[in-house]
Symmetry: C2
Subunit: 116 residues, 2 copies
């Protein structure tokens, strides 16, 4: 990671606006500015972790909290009955565009296969 | 979930074969039989949890372990440098086909956007 703040760190620090729909001590969720489905939310940890590949043992509880929070946010959005897809891109082949771990939560239409 | 074992539970119980590439006390990883990328692995917990929506607080450590293990399996497969995508389908709109939590790990080509 470069020393410059990522766009997600700037959102966490309230330096740029975002449509935030959930926040707790460890993570924050907001709508993706380029939605790929009727519902498209990003869930990120406040701690700066680059991606799934960078997760260390000390991050295990946070990683678990993130997955559980994805389910919680989905319930609050009312998309849990119809269903949704959770996606984490890691590195170039994964299509990762911001070097800060984020879970995409997509819903509101039938997600297709393959997943990209 | 119905009382009948899912295909993943049968794989865990060694009742049907799978190309298993990783196993520990809590989870197991094997190649998807319908690969959507040159590398397409499924990582599942041994505990029967339906999906992300069904994760409870008591599953937080397991959920974290799963995400960290996705990174570990990716490193062992040698796909962590080029990158990969992790996908969890939840319910009908998410395209979930087996009612047992599983993470798809896809790599070996440029994953496209949107993710399905």
């Amino acid at each position: 990671m470069s020393d410059e703040k990522t766009i997600f760190k700037k959102i966490i620090d309230r330096e740029i606006p975002a449509n935030i729909i959930f926040e707790d001590d460890h993570c924050i969720a907001f709508y993706d500015v380029s939605p790929q489905a009727p519902v498209h939310v990003l869930l990120i940890p406040k701690e700066e972790i680059e991606n799934v590949a960078a997760l260390q043992l000390e991050n295990k509880e946070l990683a678990g909290h993130l997955l559980l929070t994805a389910g919680k946010v989905a319930r609050e959005l009312g998309i849990d009955q119809a269903g949704y897809r959770v996606v984490a891109n890691c590195g170039a082949d994964g299509g990762q565009s911001v070097d800060h771990l984020h879970l995409h939560i997509l819903a509101g239409r039938q997600l297709k296969w393959p997943p990209g």
